[in-house]
């Protein structure tokens, strides 16, 4: 999303779905996982919208949709690419929108070669290192700004250690592109490249790849196109069913291309809604718990970023809003180090660590197995159940010096040392585990002040209703007092390495008997204040001279006017339907992003029916139902003068102000590691060949060869027939992710009291599975058991002339709580998307057979027997281990 539009968040908000004429829910079981937000889908349906659900499994979302399309797990790019091709072949694109608001006209370097030319690879692939050199993907003339820029891009983008360098926004080192063809006829313009790239994604190809009959696919494509245009809008909703693949980012990119071609971005009832799984998962990327990002999507410095000026130069863009990165970065440093951050010491920039390798969660877990990681905090997570290859996770936890787990109850991640599958099989023995576990009771959200940032970038404040019981404390309390105690212990140290901690601005007032830090003061710092210690009104107030401090620039303004804007609760009936005075959304309280695109280039609405933000000639400003996502006084006919910088370089008819060129990206010249356009690749584990290219998998996906992380042979390889079925994992409404907040409660546990698997009657007949009885699901990682639910909701598919059976597995269960069961995540290998290091947990292969699994060491014997049959014997595993990181 960031690469396509400029910001790494949902382009719209859930309430806006009510205005949609057609909603495609794909990669999401929205009714079950987002039941409250789903009311707006139901509202749209009541108003006559068509709801389409595309999913491997008929779920509660499918039940209330107008159309359900079963699809093979892991084949969505083929399906979506088919829609792109349908649009382009039939001229269904929203022409004026595409011409004016996207980079369709921009000319790409003549050196660029497509997957059509190289049978599944883009130009610049380095087979030795398994990475792309992206130089040839650039716009034509990008190199004109000097070799340094091109060099820089090559250096950053090809270093396998780097995460999302520009991944969160459309920065262009060279600034605005110089070469355009407004007629979209030039064969090197992105529009023509796109057309060529997707030309073989025909309805027949969709059928062969996805198992979706061509008539059904065409119905979806037609409905989508019929419900888009000046008068109508269509929306996409997705969740982790799209992100959790080795090509997850490109799934979303394909939808982004469709929505650009149909003119559905920045307009009411349109957009792409990224549905986030937890109450504040959006918040945990905005103010990240990720190793490669700093707050507000500022990249974490790399070794090449020697000083602040270089860091900013390497990461900003002369044109577009990222031209202001110096203000955001300096204010961020001032928030962390306060008075200690001065122009003389580069605002303490050197206190920030530099990334010199992969420090993602999965890498860290593998490092635990080698005892390279000594200590670990598990807060609001239950990796022993909820993380991919949870067996590997548990083995990692069992090889630490210390582990801190903060939760409401003793979850599996705190109990693994005496109660886990590995204790049962004898792989772990309690007395041999070195890890010292500290379990700390945590306060619930009703027991503390704070904010959630939800799926639509909305910050909502919650107040303490009751004091936390006993020793339970908030995460804020824990972090603050841990920092305080560490600082007290380090006080007086002259060691340089302690300076970053000792110089921290760590002065939050505390209150009450438990000395709870004042969460309002944290939000105030996040929002920002000026040299007179007055709250800033937004990021436009931030300065690069050190006179302002702001913990997270995109949240700037959340405390504007010294008022906690996130605590606003004006009822919707007392304001317009957008409800701008309910809580506060980033950025600048905008609810619908890029909303300048809801008006024509001349500033008038595309249609009365879809009016949203428009240019008011009398008042000489942008106005509408929402905060305009544009400089309010910038005229629609504004043309940037030569040499204009930052936002001044964005013309009055360019709605995507975060992009260096002011338009959305059909073709992404930078920011992605696996291609400027999406291509269908098979999942890491698949019973099928890639029908589109000789290149079977995403060539730059991240894999970890490890004895506890073996991969099944793929289609055609010896042993692939041992694991003939595809399985996919998911949640059900009744339980919360890894179960820590639901399997402990009787009212929720009774509603889904056992781990189960969902299979079709046809598969049940083929394998002798009996409804309500037990089944064992086997992979090379391990085997688990589950109650059998035979249901018509699972459909066999015809793919490449063969019948494919898919198995559905909810992943909520573990060994603790009122309802216990095996964990589906034990089955899934680590294979990651190269852009964001998200694991492929939505498509893998398995075998299934009736009956309960063996107990104790017999379980290991069963798995070993399967490994041998699949050719994954010990020798193979050892060879594989030596080739770690093999692609």
């Amino acid at each position: 999303m960031g690469t396509s539009f400029g910001r790494g968040g949902a382009t719209t908000f859930q309430q806006d779905l009510q205005h949609s004429d057609c909603i495609v829910i794909m990669g999401s079981n929205m009714a079950e996982c987002h039941p409250v937000g789903f009311q707006w889908v139901m509202e749209a349906k009541l108003r006559g919208a068509t709801i389409i659900h595309v999913d491997p499994r008929f779920s509660r979302t499918s039940a209330v949709s107008d159309m359900y399309v079963p699809i093979r797990a892991g084949s969505d790019i083929a399906f979506l690419g088919g829609i792109v091709n349908y649009i382009l072949q039939n001229g269904r694109e929203f022409r004026e929108y595409v011409e004016r608001y996207t980079n369709a006209a921009t000319i790409v370097s003549a050196e660029f070669e497509d997957t059509e030319d190289l049978d599944g690879l883009f130009s610049g692939f380095d087979p030795e290192r398994g990475v792309y050199d992206v130089t040839t993907w650039q716009y034509e003339g990008a190199g004109d700004t000097g070799a340094a820029a091109g060099q820089r891009v090559r250096h950053f983008e090809t270093d396998a250690a780097l995460g999302e360098r520009h991944g969160s926004h459309g920065a262009l080192p060279g600034g605005r592109p110089r070469h355009r063809d407004p007629t979209l006829q030039d064969p090197q313009c992105t529009f023509q490249l796109l057309k060529k790239h997707f030309t073989r994604y025909t309805p027949e190809m969709v059928e062969e790849t996805c198992g979706v009959p061509r008539e059904q696919f065409l119905r979806v494509a037609e409905l989508l196109c019929d419900n888009s245009g000046p008068e109508k809008t269509a929306a996409f909703c997705y969740a982790v069913g799209w992100t959790q693949h080795t090509v997850g980012v490109q799934y979303i990119r394909t939808a982004a291309i469709i929505q650009q071609l149909l003119g559905n971005i920045g307009r009411p009832g349109g957009g792409i809604l990224a549905l986030r799984g937890h109450a504040s998962i959006q918040g945990s990327t905005d103010i990240p718990t990720l190793y490669e990002l700093l707050p507000g999507y500022l990249p974490m410095p790399h070794p090449g970023d020697e000083d602040l000026a270089t860091y900013i130069d390497n990461n900003s863009s002369p044109t577009g809003y990222w031209g202001n990165m110096d203000k955001y970065a300096t204010s961020f440093l001032k928030a962390w180090w306060g008075d200690k951050a001065t122009p003389e010491n580069d605002f303490c920039y050197d206190y920030l660590p530099r990334i010199n390798g992969d420090h993602s969660n999965f890498r860290s877990v593998l490092d635990m197995l080698e005892h390279k990681v000594k200590g670990y905090f598990v807060i609001g997570e239950n990796p022993a159940v909820g993380s991919t290859n949870s067996k590997l996770q548990r083995l990692g936890l069992a090889n630490l010096d210390w582990l801190v787990v903060r939760d409401f109850v003793e979850i599996e991640s705190a109990a693994f040392w005496y109660d886990s599958p590995e204790i049962e099989t004898g792989e772990l023995r309690t007395e041999e585990i070195p890890t010292e576990v500290f379990f700390m009771p945590a306060a619930a959200h009703t027991e503390k002040d704070g904010s959630f940032t939800n799926t639509q970038r909305l910050l909502q404040w919650h107040h303490t209703a009751v004091e936390p019981p006993g020793d339970a404390r908030s995460d804020l309390w824990f972090a603050f007092h841990l920092g305080r105690i560490i600082r007290e212990k380090l006080a007086g140290s002259t060691d340089e390495r302690d300076r970053p901690i000792l110089d921290l601005n760590w002065n939050y007032p505390t209150q009450g008997a438990i000395e709870e830090p004042d969460a309002h003061m944290v939000l105030r710092e996040v929002s920002g204040y000026d040299a007179d210690n007055k709250a800033v009104s937004g990021f436009q107030d931030l300065k690069a001279d050190g006179s302002t401090a702001c913990g997270c620039w995109i949240y700037s303004g959340a405390f504007a006017g010294e008022v906690n804007q996130t605590a606003r609760r004006k009822p919707h009936q007392d304001q317009n339907w957008v409800a701008p005075e309910w809580a506060w959304a980033w950025p600048a309280n905008r609810r619908l992003l890029y909303n300048r695109a809801s008006a024509k280039p001349d500033g008038s609405p595309w249609s009365e029916r879809r009016r949203y933000v428009w240019w008011d000639d009398a008042r000489e400003e942008w106005t509408g139902y929402d905060v305009p996502d544009f400089l309010t006084k910038k005229r629609p006919d504004y043309k940037p003068p030569d040499g204009a910088q930052r936002e001044d370089a964005i013309a009055g008819d360019e709605p995507f102000i975060m992009q260096a060129d002011g338009v959305s990206w059909l073709y992404a010249p930078s920011g992605l590691r696996d291609g400027p356009m999406p291509a269908h690749y098979e999942p890491q584990e698949t019973p099928f060949r890639n029908p589109l290219y000789a290149q079977q998998h995403n060539p730059v996906r991240q894999t970890y060869r490890h004895r506890y992380n073996p991969y099944h042979p793929s289609n055609g390889q010896v042993g692939s027939e041992v694991f003939p079925y595809v399985f996919t994992t998911y949640r059900v409404t009744e339980h919360h992710t890894a179960g820590g907040m639901s399997r402990t409660l009787p009212y929720l546990s009774e509603l889904q009291p056992e781990m189960f698997c969902e299979v079709s009657p046809e598969l049940a007949a083929e394998r002798g599975l009996v409804h309500n009885d037990w089944a064992t699901i086997i992979t090379a990682r391990t085997a688990i058991e589950a109650r059998v639910m035979v249901t018509d909701r699972v459909t066999p598919l015809l793919v490449q002339g063969r019948t494919l059976h898919q198995v559905g597995l909810p992943y909520h269960w573990g060994t603790k709580g009122l309802t216990t069961g095996d964990s589906a995540n034990d089955l899934i290998p680590l294979a990651l998307d190269p852009n964001v290091h998200i694991q492929e947990s939505k498509a893998a292969t398995c075998d299934i057979r009736p009956g309960r699994r063996p107990r104790g060491p017999a379980l290991l014997a069963l798995v070993e027997q399967y490994r041998r049959r699949a050719g994954l014997d010990g020798a193979e595993s050892r060879r594989a281990a030596a080739k770690e990181h093999d692609r």
Binding site: A31, M42, F58, V64, P70, T733, E750, L751, D792
Partner: protein
């Protein structure tokens, strides 16, 4: 006694509170459960238990699709049913046993269109003519000013007469307690001016609460809309004030025959026939008495 139904109100509904002795009373309120937009999230079940402190119903795997609480009972006052049906949605002419083609290529044949998954949140119907209330010997069951039917736990003696009386099998004795329990339509919340917990928790407005007359207007509009969209099987259940229970205080929009939802197609309050039965019995008794007297008279002769 419900031998006579409450008279109809100007809007066509019935007002049971009035004939139960409430001279001044608020509008009759109830539920309209629109199953066409139920997403089966079970928030109603949980909200009901949370608010009313109903114990859990046991952690038992039932495998009735996604339903593991089974049915309404003393410990489940809202119950969401899941009905997996091999039927093309919206076509009245295709029966339950519409043929399903079982062989590949299934996808090509569009098997998914021959299938639907119905969900419905069931609840006590708060009948206009409530048999449970009629047969209660202790007065534990009573008609509230809102027209709803409520059990007073401190009066119920656990006799259980009401259990077989209910034509819907709703009211139930709690094991280990003996008393009967059921939905109160959150009488305590109504007293405080709040809507029932289930209706408030329902994210899609499948459960709607309000004055019954208003709900029926809305429900009729919704049925018309569904018919226009081709869902010709859609119908209201329990909205007719002239049915065997005088209409329901909690009525439903169903997408198929009531039997599909395990609801009686033509519910009748069992006490409806009591007057006739008593009349017949009285006639028989009189005839017997006359015969006896006649016999003695004849004997004396």
């Amino acid at each position: 006694m419900s031998m006579t139904l409450p008279p109809k109100t100007p809007s066509g509904g019935r007002d049971p509170a009035a004939i139960s002795g409430w001279a001044q009373h608020p509008d009759r309120v109830g539920f309209f459960t629109d199953t066409s937009i139920c997403i089966g999230c079970k928030a109603c079940e949980v909200a009901c238990k949370e608010w009313n402190e109903v114990p859990d119903d046991g952690l038992n795997w039932l495998g009735q699709s996604y339903d593991h609480t089974g049915e309404l009972g003393a410990d489940t006052w809202r119950h969401v049913q899941f009905i997996e049906q091999r039927k093309r949605p919206g076509t009245a002419d295709e029966g339950l046993d519409a043929p399903l083609i079982e062989h590949v290529p299934l996808a090509q044949l569009g098997r998914e269109e021959g299938f639907r998954w119905l969900m419905s949140s069931d609840v006590c119907k708060h009948c206009t003519s409530a048999a449970c209330l009629d047969v209660c010997p202790t007065g534990a069951l009573f008609r509230t000013e809102f027209g709803t039917v409520v059990v007073q736990a401190d009066i119920c003696n656990g006799c259980g007469y009401c259990v077989p009386a209910c034509p819907f099998g709703v009211i139930d004795q709690r094991r280990g307690d003996g008393r009967v329990w059921k939905c109160t339509l959150c009488y305590d919340r109504l007293k405080g001016g709040f809507e029932p917990a289930c209706a408030q928790a329902c994210p899609t407005n499948s459960i709607q609460f309000g004055p019954l007359d208003e709900l029926k207007v809305r429900a009729n509009r919704r049925v018309r809309q569904l018919h226009e969209q081709g869902f010709t099987d859609a119908r209201l259940y329990g909205a007719d004030p002239d049915d065997g229970v005088g209409g329901l205080g909690a009525f439903f929009l169903l997408m198929d025959e009531p039997e599909v939802y395990r609801l009686p197609p033509d519910p009748v309050v069992p006490t409806r026939d009591l007057p006739a039965m008593w009349g017949a019995a009285a006639k028989a008794a009189t005839a017997l008495a006359v015969a006896t007297v006649a016999a003695f008279m004849a004997g004396r002769r």
